[in-house]
Subunit: 342 residues, 2 copies
């Protein structure tokens, strides 16, 4: 148990929610953590968002390494990365539950740490529950890296969690996915060595995109004839990948992505140590987290676990793109018996 | 029909094989071709190897884009990329058949052509059969890009072929594999723009290696704990990928690989136009050429085709690494009824 007592509030929280509608609340806390790959305890700033009515059951929601605390769309029209599944009336219904999320900690946040552990994110969330006086989470819904952090949370802080919902994430990264991510990081460093870290990050993101989506989706979208331009043929998917790479490189810092990508590959939780009931969701077409890994996780988990396998054309990104199939499963998994906050 | 009449011999062929043992014979011919992406006919040098006894049935054998005409090991101990399956007493038995292979043509060979077509390689092989007085091939055994060229050969020169054996290659590249190869080429160009084409080629090859091998193989080989070194964690597969990338970058020219990689992605043969009996071989774990594409090819082929699906841990590279499973299928597919050259 490396979680230390949470420290004082550094900034005031956002104004309290209006009585008639849940309003998102953004804040920051300085919390004492003992980083998994660090040399001792240190104070760490944790930025969080809390959407939903006071007193409602808390649902932690965390996504992939490029997701942030803005899970739900803001009332101001601000983007929420999971607004299709979390918000008023959605599967994670912010009129009935409070959604808590953090911005992932990176290596800079952890000071002298050699790396960022999924354990560090889990400990930060546990410390935050205490610091905000929320006590215990009704559920932790994590997708991709968020599922890994959810597993770490369940293993380290079982007394703070009612149910784990792990989507497209397992007890460890698959060695093939590790190799592909290590190569992405090598491409970023290659760009940086040549004075073009953004160019490297762009290419690394394009590579990531080819692993996030499914074979079927590529076949459906990108079967068009290539065009000869500037001395070479350009193939149908190239423009899409270029746009995705450029958007990502403009938005993210290379060092942060290097640290979070490595954190996925370092993730390791003993399934037997997870003694919280769990709902596991796998996508049949996921090329990053193979179905076999979620089957193994279910078999070895230290608590009852149900595994749903969704047949989606979207591969790993189905957690973002296949809200229609996910919604009923999430509703069921986080259902609050007898609870009603209308 | 774009094949023109073959031209004269430019260099004398190697010395004839000894009577008591088949000896490899290396040569070069200047042949008239009409490049698929060029502006008209031109003379093209084609480098070939011919292993096996005079007068025996000819088996064309072609591999991936990094393979060359040295299919069988030389008597001098020289490397042959398919020596596990082709050579004296092997599945493609050079005491009974003559193995013909060429070095792939690249863009430089084709002069002003915009790109290299799989059709160009097929036409070069057909012209070579005529130039060498070999007439007709008993079989064309092609793997990966070689299978694509075999399909182009069967569609364009059916009168010159008895049977096609296509391993891990189909009538077109899968759009996801196209996207990943287009990205490999972008990585090479990125390196070149920064004055480091070899570094780009190295990284592109590492990426290719993550697609050539199977998920199971990675899980079996690369599950070891990462090591912290030089400010980051190094994962089990990284050293293997680095070595593969460095070897490749030292051996290959970036322009040649760019052209051949693009040639894979441009490949398109109408299966109905293939009117030669075929044996298709797919690997269940192939992540470059999905099983579904070979199923579609079989269904649409214009001649009887049998499809064998091998369950191999090696993914696409099973054509190189799973000789044990391939050997009996190849023996059967190229069996010469009544023929015996002992």
């Amino acid at each position: 148990m490396t979680l230390l007592s949470p420290d004082l509030v550094v900034e005031p929280a956002s104004p309290p929610a209006r009585d008639d509608a849940p309003a998102p609340s953004f804040g920051e806390r300085r919390l004492w953590l003992q980083p998994r790959h660090g040399d001792g305890p240190r104070a760490v700033r944790v930025r969080y968002a809390l959407h939903g009515p006071d007193g409602a059951p808390v649902v932690i929601a965390q996504g992939g390494i490029s997701a942030d605390r803005r899970v739900c769309a803001g009332e101001d029209g601000a983007h929420g990365w999971w607004s299709a599944l979390a918000g008023p009336g959605a599967a994670i219904d912010t009129t009935r539950v409070r959604v808590l999320a953090i911005d992932w900690l990176d290596r800079a946040d952890l000071g002298a740490a050699r790396a960022v552990g999924s354990e560090d994110q889990a400990d930060a969330l546990a410390a935050l529950l205490i610091a905000l006086g929320l006590g215990r989470a009704h559920a932790f819904v994590g997708a991709s890296y968020g599922a890994m952090v959810g597993l770490a949370f369940a293993a380290r802080h079982p007394q703070r969690l009612g149910r784990l919902v792990a989507i497209a994430g397992a007890h460890r990264a698959h060695p093939l996915a590790v190799a592909v991510r290590a190569l992405q990081r090598e491409i970023v460093r290659f760009g940086a060595r040549h004075g073009d870290a953004a160019g490297g990050l762009d290419l690394a993101r394009r590579l990531a995109m080819t692993t996030y989506r499914g074979e079927r989706e590529f076949a459906l979208r990108f079967g068009a004839e290539p065009e000869f331009r500037d001395g070479r043929y350009r193939f149908a998917a190239e423009g899409w990948l270029e746009a995705a790479g450029a958007r990502f490189a403009a938005r993210f810092d290379a060092e942060r992505i290097l640290a979070l990508s490595e954190s996925i590959d370092l993730h390791a939780v003993d399934p037997a140590a997870v003694r919280v009931p769990a709902t596991l969701i796998a996508f049949s077409t996921d090329r990053v987290v193979p179905l076999g890994d979620l089957c193994e996780l279910q078999r070895r988990l230290g608590a009852p676990a149900v595994l749903h396998v969704l047949d989606s054309p979207y591969g790993h990104d189905a957690f973002l793109k296949d809200a229609a199939q996910l919604a009923p499963l999430l509703r069921e998994a986080i259902a609050i018996e007898g609870a009603c906050h209308d």
